[in-house]
Point group: C2
């Protein structure tokens, strides 16, 4: 069905909505919230299956109120149209209590305005952690979308070797990958949590540009083409003996997968790089096997780091001039969700977590090597990989 | 010079930095600020010519402190490396006063953390408006970047007719435009102010999809391909007798231009659409002539609306099923800066404002028509157009 024909506001099946709301309400109750006000696009999408401009007011019991500003075509039993946040409180039927607000997503000014609109009868706390916690455990419905993105993402990667032409710069290859991604159905939007995070469609790193530190909290850097966006491809020529690491946008369904593969003009990179790449594959396999409900996220990081050290690659692990402080991250609607696979993570893996593992190495003179896959934590057995393209370094010629 | 070789933190020429700081400090003084803490990527870019992760602390007099978290390669006389915001206050040499914070950009949690880090000796107010006001008047250095973007943006639009192939859907054309934009040097990142605004590279609207209302506060809508990103191309076939409106990303330099042109398989759209398109060109010309320092922004809106009404196009002006509440907007580092050309705007035009004017019409059964150009407000004479591609409806065949 065409998007323009989807005029019903709530696009989630009733049972799916119930599941998400009941999970969220358990966390709300445990956090002392009587209601929650959701305003971010990502959380509105999580709770309806669509993005609209407005608010969702979720009382601990009873129906949510969908308060819409735009678009003006949506219908739902519980939808109301409002012009501004001040129009909402009288429509909730609630005059006191503790309301959770998205304090880690919404601006300071917006949160102050929300608090003022509800007024003195209410107290407020931060709902961001509750929403992140609920979203970190995906439902079967969400896992289907993630698996679909994984299949399309994999198809994209299988086309990449055919996009290379001798004499290409990193950015030339990236442009062809972006086009192919879009042809395969990539929606383009790369949703990242955090105001200071920016990336356009992904990262293609050739040779020593991988050793250029970036301002962003991604696993790898790159100098970029312009100081206004200092990350990724910098116009380097793709040369024999150097690696080309491709880590591009997997948003094909509203849910993202994350995936990295390495390419080379010939597949005979220097032995240290080949060793590091094999180590990355070994780490992914070991972590996929370890990753089960009840395992601490930080144990996965420690295992990855220990394997890197044992392989003699401590200095190259997760960067060389600048090191990333994690080896993996949850993902879903956004590229950076819970759990984080990092030394001080407090997360414990749960069935339904979706995690990208990206043990990568930067080898001076060669570039970045290693792989990234997206995994689902299962109730039993090893994690399920949803990005199943070949893992070895792939030859362009 | 390659981006990786630019290790000096401050990339603005000294005189340029002085100009921006002195303008900002006048506004700070008038707003009662003793200092300002800047944390957003866009404002860090404005004050250094590059994006880094960290903070800039600007006292009313004396040198700013550039507090960097990443990347770890930048050098400057006034640069310090910090791990977290709590490390900054002791380095400022200031123990009391009023600090402006980016309360309309930074999250509630972030602002609370900044306030706590500085502690009890300080009071705080919102610096967002001051920064927006300073940035709304571009320097000659910034205007050069905007003119450069305009030239490249125009070159992109001149290639669009050659990208069309019979049988294309809107998204197929958009993908080829995106690729061509990137080949012409578009950086990809489409910076928008406001957490609930999202768009990937721009908007290509064919036929009646232009009449699908969207959740976003753009001039035009479109249903999009997926409810997770309900804006723009929806997979409609490009058909004779319907318009194709192209409004795509002009970020070629860190500064954006904004530009829209209309295309058609043959250039003989129904007379009402041709009339509306001519009216849009007439409105642009009239507003470009009116736009001088001292003119109220709302007068431009009223003139545009009056011309639309006089042309018998009130119901189609700025949308049909859903209407946008503005006819133009400032732009620069972000696509939506001051001044806004809207009925309740309080802005008065100043020399150096950069404004996109986009009087557009949605004609049911045909689609969106009209143009958009980016203009510079000059001290004398009419506004300078920096997006000088042909304005008529352009034939694909």
């Amino acid at each position: 069905m065409k998007n323009s024909e989807l005029t019903r506001l709530q696009l989630l099946p009733a049972a799916e909505l119930d599941l998400r709301l009941s999970r969220l309400r358990s966390i709300m109750a445990a956090s002392g919230m009587d209601a929650m006000l959701v305003n971010s696009n990502t959380n509105i999408y999580y709770l309806t299956g669509r993005v609209f401009c407005g608010f969702i007011f979720i009382p601990l019991t009873g129906n949510p109120v969908y308060a819409v500003r735009r678009p003006t075509i949506l219908t739902d039993d519980n939808a109301v149209y409002i012009r501004k946040i001040e129009d909402l409180p009288p429509l909730t039927g609630i005059t006191s209590g503790t309301i959770g607000l998205e304090m880690s997503n919404a601006s300071y000014s917006a949160v102050c305005r929300f608090e003022k609109a509800f007024g003195n009868g209410f107290s407020f706390n931060d709902a961001s952690a509750a929403l992140s916690q609920a979203r970190s455990v995906k439902t079967d419905y969400e896992l289907d979308k993630i698996r679909t993105s994984g299949v399309k993402h994999t198809a994209l990667y299988e086309r990449i070797p055919h996009l290379y032409q001798p004499g290409m710069r990193d950015i030339d290859l990236q442009i062809e990958i972006e086009r192919t991604a879009r042809q395969e159905g990539c929606l383009g939007q790369f949703r990242i949590n955090g105001d200071d995070m920016e990336l356009h469609m992904g990262n293609v790193l050739a040779g020593d540009n991988a050793d250029s530190p970036s301002p962003y909290d991604f696993a790898m850097g790159g100098a970029g083409l312009d100081p206004s966006l200092p990350v990724g491809a910098d116009g380097s020529l793709i040369r024999p003996g150097e690696s080309v690491m491709v880590d591009v946008n997997g948003n094909f369904t509203g849910y993202m997968t994350d995936m990295t593969r390495c390419f080379a003009v010939r597949d005979d990179l220097p032995e240290k790089a080949m060793h590091a790449h094999r180590t990355s594959i070994d780490i992914c396999n070991a972590l996929a096997d370890m990753g089960r409900p009840g395992v601490e996220a930080k144990m996965l990081y420690e295992k990855a780091r220990a394997m890197a050290v044992e392989a003699g690659l401590e200095n190259e692990f997760m960067g060389h001039r600048q090191h990333a402080g994690f080896v993996g991250h949850g993902l879903g609607i956004e590229i950076n969700e819970l759990p984080v696979i990092a030394p001080r993570s407090k997360s414990i893996l749960q069935t339904g977590n979706v995690i990208a593992l990206e043990p990568k190495f930067v080898i001076p003179g060669v570039g970045a090597v290693g792989i990234e896959n997206t995994y689902i934590v299962k109730s039993e057995g090893p994690m399920e990989c949803v990005t199943n393209a070949p893992r070895q370094i792939i030859s362009f010629e």
